[in-house]
């Protein structure tokens, strides 16, 4: 079954159609082909959220998955994010949960919180 989606690469916003054999049509440039194939075969997203932190100045500390995770794992990852709490100091890029939900991605801090 063919899938239709809007290309997000540039303002053109081409309406792409990707068929079962991964042929992409509707694209005005080659970047659309790549995007269309990826979205249909293995859509991935970076998850950004916060975790609880025992800090004097903040209740929560922002975090992200250091690489994009499969789209269908977003809520699984969020379940773990919601159960995680940390204590300062924490530095940007510091790993908070390794291989979160078995996605291969690490959950890392995106803010420095010293106390």
């Amino acid at each position: 079954m063919a899938t239709t989606l809007t290309c997000i690469i540039c303002p053109n916003g081409c309406q792409l159609t990707v068929d079962d054999d991964l042929n992409v049509t509707g694209n005005k440039c080659l970047r659309g082909v790549e995007y269309g194939k990826q979205e249909v075969t293995d859509p991935r997203r970076t998850v950004t959220s916060t975790v609880k932190i025992a800090s004097k100045q903040l209740r929560v500390c922002p975090v992200k998955t250091n690489v994009a995770i499969p789209k269908n794992m977003i809520f699984k990852v969020m379940e773990i994010v919601n159960q995680t709490s940390i204590v300062p100091p924490v530095y940007i890029g510091e790993v908070i949960v390794k291989d979160i939900a078995g996605t291969g991605a690490d959950l890392v801090s995106t803010r420095e919180v010293l106390d």
């Binding site: 916060t50 975790v51 609880k52 209740r59 929560v60 919601n82």
Partner: protein
């Protein structure tokens, strides 16, 4: 709080607050019951905030009497209660020859009411109000009219009453009134109180309260008015309160500065069924805009920062109702206080206290009544050297958190710790203007919320915006 009171005042709008203030001069135990989390939260907060001169009411009516008396009280009153008030004067503006003739009717009425006026020609009006419609043919200038901060007026009157020993309960609605051993038993949704005298200042709901005591032959019909609030876009866009000529529907769509020198346009006038209907609607506001532009064609509506609506408590009798119930001389109705209610409120409060309540109770005045409240500090109104010195000694007043109206933590903490403390976001906004500006709290609301939580010892999730239950934060995310 002892159960037996001398007086219970139901409702803490402008009327209830001023009845309380003037009763606080007597050696009486007075209790005020208000259903909202703050005072002045009904009609008193959503009106034109005009201190009318008294040129408009029909001579001989209570409206005429209390308007003119109230107007004369304002300069001293606002000084005592530290309320923003500017006696800018008003103009009834005629835009054609026929309207100009009607100005003379108004002039005559003003004369009978004892209100000073001056008749202006079209050229004179244009010289004073360059933005007015060029076809202006004349205006009746009433120099004693002014604009007041209506939020400060009610809150400071109540604060003054509380400082002088009056008690206030908020968030309680009166559900029944009965007689017990010759005095009144007032039941609320939470408590019971007893008093010898009850004063009904329940505004839009004065009818419902009055009916708890006896059948009545009058009613209150809510008459909604919708307004635009514009930003401070420069002092002097208009220099007076500008009225069109009054009609049967009221004083018409006015264009005015507020006491804080932003601008207000409105109100519409429409009877509604629901006394709590404070909703706005686009066709009505479009009509308000069109009428206002007819009088002042260059109003910059792109400076709009808020729209709001309020309901006037219009009485079926056509005049203020200020009298004891027919069967209960110790139950006093103060009802139907529609426009010019705000300007009349101090005079009504004083009359009710001095002429109606005090004689019943044969009350004596206190020797130590203080008509003043502790002044509020506004660093931005100080000159720079004075401000530097003050903030040096009071660092909290240097910490400005409201971007648009430049209000400091010091000013907010002050209103959180007075005898009448603000406990909601709206209450802080009304007292300090934090959140009243162009961003409407976008920058400061979170800060105000934490300050209220800290001052009240409550969780941030319990802090309300305005009415009971109007919380802002639903839960902790983690």
């Amino acid at each position: 709080m002892g159960a037996m009171k001398d007086v219970i005042i139901i409702g803490a709008g402008a009327i209830g607050c001023f009845v309380a203030r003037y009763l606080s001069a007597y050696r009486l135990k007075t209790l005020v019951i208000e259903r909202e989390p703050d005072v002045g939260d009904g009609t008193s907060k959503a009106n034109s905030a005009i201190v009318h001169s008294g040129d408009d009411p029909v001579p001989g009516t209570k409206k005429a009497r209390f308007n003119v008396e109230g107007n004369r009280m304002f300069p001293q009153l606002c000084e005592e209660l530290d309320v923003e008030f500017e006696q800018v004067g008003s103009m009834n503006v005629a835009l054609d020859e026929k309207q100009r003739e009607k100005l003379f009717v108004l002039e005559e009425r003003a004369k009978q009411n004892g209100v000073p006026t001056k008749m202006l020609t079209g050229e004179e009006v244009l010289a004073m109000e360059p933005n007015i419609n060029k076809c202006v043919t004349g205006a009746l200038l009433c120099p004693t009219a002014g604009v007041v901060n209506p939020f400060e007026l009610t809150a400071h009157a109540m604060e003054n009453a509380l400082d002088n020993g009056v008690e206030l309960v908020l968030r309680e609605s009166v559900v029944s009134i009965s007689k017990k051993d010759g005095h009144f038993l007032v039941k609320t949704n939470k408590n019971e109180y007893e008093a010898e005298v009850v004063v009904n200042c329940a505004g839009l709901f004065a009818e419902e309260i009055a009916k708890m005591v006896e059948p009545i032959d009058w009613y209150i019909r809510p008459r909604k008015g919708e307004y635009y609030v514009l930003d401070h876009f420069g002092k002097g866009f208009v220099n007076h309160v500008l009225f069109p000529l009054p009609s049967e529907k009221g004083k018409g769509i006015l264009v005015t500065m507020t006491s804080a020198w932003n601008y207000l346009v409105g109100p519409s006038s429409e009877f509604v069924d629901d006394k709590e209907d404070m909703s706005t609607d686009s066709p009505t506001l479009a009509d308000v805009k069109a009428q206002a532009l007819n009088m002042v064609p260059s109003i910059p509506f792109n400076q709009q920062i808020r729209i709001f609506a309020g309901c006037r408590a219009t009485p079926s009798t056509g005049d203020f109702i200020i009298e004891p119930a027919k069967s209960e001389p110790k139950f006093i109705n103060v009802a139907g206080i529609e426009s010019p209610g705000l300007v009349s409120s101090p005079a009504i409060g004083r009359y009710v206290a001095d002429e109606l309540v005090a004689p019943i109770l044969k009350a004596k005045k206190k020797d130590n009544w203080n008509p003043r409240i502790k002044p509020y500090v506004h660093p931005l109104k100080m000159d720079i050297e004075e401000r530097k010195a003050f903030v040096k000694d009071h660092p909290e007043y240097g910490a400005i958190i409201c971007n648009c109206e430049q209000v400091s933590i010091g000013e907010i903490n002050d209103v959180l710790s007075r005898s009448l403390p603000a406990t909601t976001i709206r209450a802080v906004r009304k007292r300090t203007r934090a959140g009243f500006g162009k961003c409407q709290g976008g920058f400061c609301q979170s800060q105000v919320l934490w300050l209220i939580a800290k001052a009240t010892g409550k969780s941030p999730m319990e802090i309300e915006y305005e009415h009971e239950g109007s919380i802002i934060l639903e839960r902790e995310s983690k």
